[in-house]
């Protein structure tokens, strides 16, 4: 196990390096730059800015400088948000996104697994049909539509819930709901089909023949196998969700990290693009390692090598 983890960590570092390198050269290949505005900045000012941030150097040298600094934990200053460091922006905004995203993954996991199981157990019945309608809706309706609908209904018409910011627990309800809609629907479907699959397996018949109680059959034998695909899905989902959703943050005015990803790219804020990308890549890689370990614990048949 220890050897396996070590191997995975080395591979993870390699992956992150590859992602960082690719991002660095791709973003520099895209036209445009960070110091552009509708009104031209004087050539002297542009030159001074480029010199200040080292953008006047050849690209290979910029790359080496960036990588060396990054290894020392220095991810540089944002080129657009003057006075803020990339680390500062991430540490300021990630906790906000992590709270909303974390709660939402938890909600989707609980609701998704429970409803998915119910649908499988009541296959072909009314509940199954209802759940399948809900999950189809959840997958088909885009996030911004859900956000706008929620906001219009509960925020503007009924005035039950606040629409701006995240200052009280009540403020979390709509963003979390909006963010959970899709993953819940997806987990429901995943859970339903893998549960049906598990229920049809020979070992279930054996369990039944042994005279195990229905509860034991379900939790000890069926669920344990059926949950594997969900675990695979939840790892990366968590990485994406806790880093924030651009749409949800924009609509509910949440000061999270999601907007920074998009803003950095459209503003060509090179250091912030690198910082957020490396951060997301690291999270995804870490989640994948955790998922593998969880797999091994759930299913002893899996050998980690």
């Amino acid at each position: 196990m220890a050897k396996y983890i070590l191997k995975r960590v080395l591979l993870a570092i390699l992956t992150i390096w590859a992602v960082a390198t690719l991002t660095f050269f791709l973003m520099n290949a895209v036209p445009g730059g960070p110091f552009l505005s509708e009104k031209a900045i004087s050539p002297a000012a542009t030159k001074a800015l480029e010199a200040k941030y080292g953008l006047d150097k050849p690209l290979s040298q910029q790359y080496l400088t960036y990588m060396t600094d990054a290894l020392h934990g220095d991810f540089g200053d944002s080129l657009k948000q003057r006075g803020r460091t990339v680390i500062g922006i991430i540490t300021m905004k990630f906790p906000v996104s992590a709270r909303v995203g974390g709660i939402s993954v938890l909600v989707s996991l609980i609701v998704g697994v429970v409803l998915g199981c119910v649908a499988a157990l009541k296959q072909g019945k009314f509940m199954d049909g209802l759940i399948s309608v809900i999950s189809t809706l959840g997958i088909a309706v885009p996030g911004f539509v859900i956000c706008t609908l929620l906001m219009y209904l509960f925020g503007v018409k009924l005035r039950w819930l606040p629409t701006l910011g995240l200052t009280s627990p009540k403020h979390y309800i709509m963003p979390v709901a909006a963010l959970s809609f899709y993953p819940t629907a997806y987990i429901m479907r995943l859970m339903r089909s893998s549960m049906l699959d598990a229920l049809g397996q020979d070992y279930m018949r054996t369990a039944k023949a042994k005279g195990l109680s229905g509860k034991k059959q379900l939790f000890k034998h069926a669920l344990r196998n059926a949950i594997l695909p969900v675990v695979t899905y939840v790892g990366p989902l968590l990485a994406y969700t806790v880093t924030g959703s651009f749409v949800v943050e924009k609509i509910f005015t949440i000061p999270g990290l999601g907007g920074e990803f998009i803003g950095a790219i459209s503003g060509r804020d090179y250091t912030l693009i690198m910082g957020t990308t490396i951060f997301l890549a690291t999270l995804i890689v870490v989640m994948n390692v955790i998922v593998d370990i969880v797999y091994k614990i759930i299913d002893p048949r899996i050998k980690l090598k």
Binding site: A44, T46, L49, Q81, R82, R84, R159, T253, I298
Partner: protein, 565 residues
């Protein structure tokens, strides 16, 4: 059995741990420090007016845009950032509600007869928001900082380019800049070239005074932390949660504090226009700038909905360095084939007005009065009233240019980014120019790629626009000067340049006015660019807000506002 439970729980824990690690409320940890920090730094200030914590009163909640990129006066080049700076800082002069210049930190100023030496006399007892004294030396420091290549201020050349020693200063020799503090209350500025509108620049946000103590201690980061963001205007920043809100409170050290009725202003940094509209409907926010365009038809006529012109023009750049666009007749045909009333009134939903000139309303004529009213002998350059006649004329011009009914012309390309009405206008142009036989292809480009493309001349026809920084016409008409960095159409007409050169050097206001009008005459006759519509701002504002106003530069002034009960 145990293992199994662990396994199931672990999945949940992955999520839970992340929730937990985010549970320290980072967003509020750095709040409410401004007053404390400000207090501690004014140790030598004996007569502390009143403890800053006790400043109370009504808080006005508004929305003028998302998170500003910067609120450092020297670095800002955006309208929303400028609106914040306007409430935190006060320049030597200010712009009054009627657009005229009014005394700010300087009570009076005088100009020598040759127009080259400007002397500003500061008020008595000026203070920073931390209670320390503000002197003429602070202006010297701030203006040198604008020139400092390490600051790399985008507006350095615009606001100080005419000051003596600017060329040396911009290359690092800051002492060379012709700005001197004769004593604590007197600031002398020596210009290298005459600049009749230097008063407007003295009221321009980039030239706000900034405090050397806080900047030297904190570097660029001074402007991101309320506790180090020392200012001198009617308000100071008390809290800033990026992406959420900026809370400003009344500055008790401001010289004119008695005129301020509000206790504070809450700037909601809402990015989405539908979210802003919801916040307005629920009453959380009393004024919003970002109104969803689809709501406009239902809002027109509503007393809470305002449309006011701002000083600027939406125009189309034609790349005159490329054939066939070097042909003035073709450009004129393109211009006349546009029904501007339709574009402004229908496509832009009446939120713009049809442009007849390049220089729209709001520009002041150097010889006095409105520049627009004196242009072209008082007549519009393009008569919008009879579109059919214009269209017929366009067809004639096109034939004269050698392309009867568009024959012989290749497919033309119109490049734009996708925001606001840009795409709708592009589609309209496709339709309008088809009327005279021209096939137009629309090329939509992402914003960050669009600007460099247009600037380098890598296009045929492109959307363009300009909003004035100050009311002197030179600010916009010079865009078409052959060597101007914003001359995206690469327009190069020696006659036009000559007229501009005269306007730059003459001290006589009548001559200067004539030269600027002549330049516009040449530009319009030549169709050096194609004006389409004049910009406006439109917004929703509750009648509860009293005493606020909106300026022709796109700023809202809430400093002297109040909220009616």
């Amino acid at each position: 059995m145990k293992k199994r439970i662990i396994a199931l729980v672990l999945t949940a824990v992955m999520a839970a741990s992340l929730v937990a690690c985010g549970s320290t409320p980072a967003s509020s940890s750095d709040n409410t420090q401004a007053p404390a920090a400000s207090e501690s730094s004014n140790t030598d200030n004996e007569a502390t007016a009143e403890p800053l914590e006790n400043v109370d009163g009504k808080i006005l909640s508004v929305q003028v845009g998302p998170d500003p990129e910067t609120i450092d006066p020297a670095l800002n080049s955006a309208v929303d950032g400028g609106n914040m700076i306007l409430h935190n800082f006060e320049c030597l002069l200010t712009v009054a509600q009627d657009g005229s210049l009014a005394p700010g930190q300087a009570e009076t100023y005088d100009v020598t007869e040759d127009g080259l030496t400007w002397t500003f006399h500061l008020r008595d007892g000026l203070k920073w928001s931390d209670g320390s004294d503000l002197t003429a030396n602070d202006f010297v420091y701030s203006w040198r900082r604008v020139c400092d290549p390490n600051t790399a201020a985008p507006y350095a050349e615009t606001v100080l380019g005419m000051v003596e020693g600017f060329d040396e200063a911009i290359n690092g020799n800051l002492e060379a800049l012709g700005v001197t503090a004769l004593d604590d209350k007197t600031l002398e500025v020596k210009l290298a070239n005459v600049c009749p509108y230097f008063g407007s620049l003295a009221a321009f946000a980039t030239l706000s005074p900034v405090q050397s103590a806080t900047i030297e201690a904190n570097g660029d980061a001074w402007a991101i932390d309320p506790s180090t963001y020392v200012s001198n205007g009617p308000f100071y920043v008390s809290e800033w949660v990026p992406g959420s809100y900026i809370l400003m409170k009344k500055n008790p050290y401001y010289w004119n504090k008695d005129a301020i009725k509000l206790g504070g202003i809450m700037w909601n940094l809402i990015e989405d226009s539908n979210a802003a509209y919801s916040a307005y409907q629920t009453g959380d926010v009393l004024m919003i700038k970002d109104v969803p365009t689809e709501e406009i038809p239902s809002l027109v006529g509503n007393s809470e909905f305002s449309i006011e012109p701002i000083i600027g023009t939406y125009y189309v750049s034609v790349n005159t360095s490329k054939a066939p666009f070097d042909n003035s007749l073709l450009r004129q045909a393109l211009s006349l084939a546009i029904d501007r009333e339709y574009v402004a009134g229908t496509i832009m939903q009446g939120t713009y007005t049809a442009a007849t000139n390049f220089m729209g309303p709001g520009w002041s004529d150097p010889k006095g009065g409105d520049f627009l009213e004196n242009a072209n002998g008082g007549k519009p350059y393009i008569d919008n009233s009879d579109y059919d006649a214009n269209l017929a004329k366009a067809k004639e011009l096109l034939a004269e240019a050698g392309y009867p009914d568009g024959e012989g012309l290749p497919t033309l390309t119109y490049t734009t980014n996708d925001a606001g009405y840009h795409k709708a206008v592009a589609e309209y142009l496709q339709q309008a120019w088809a009327e005279i036989g021209i096939t137009l292809e629309v090329n939509v480009v992402e914003w960050a790629s669009f600007t460099p493309m247009r600037r380098s001349g890598d296009y045929e026809i492109a959307r363009n626009g300009w909003v004035g920084d100050y009311a002197d016409p030179s600010n916009m008409i010079e865009l078409l000067y052959s060597s101007n960095g914003n001359n995206d159409g690469k327009y190069n007409n020696p006659e036009f340049d000559a007229a501009i050169d005269v306007s730059r050097t003459t001290l006589d206001t009548t001559e200067r006015s004539a030269a600027l009008h002549q330049a516009e005459d040449i530009l319009m006759a030549d169709a050096g660019c194609i004006p389409v519509a004049y910009y406006s701002d439109f917004w929703l504002q509750s009648p509860k807000i009293t005493g606020s106003w909106h300026s022709a530069y796109g700023y809202w002034y809430f400093m002297f506002a109040d909220i009616a009960d």
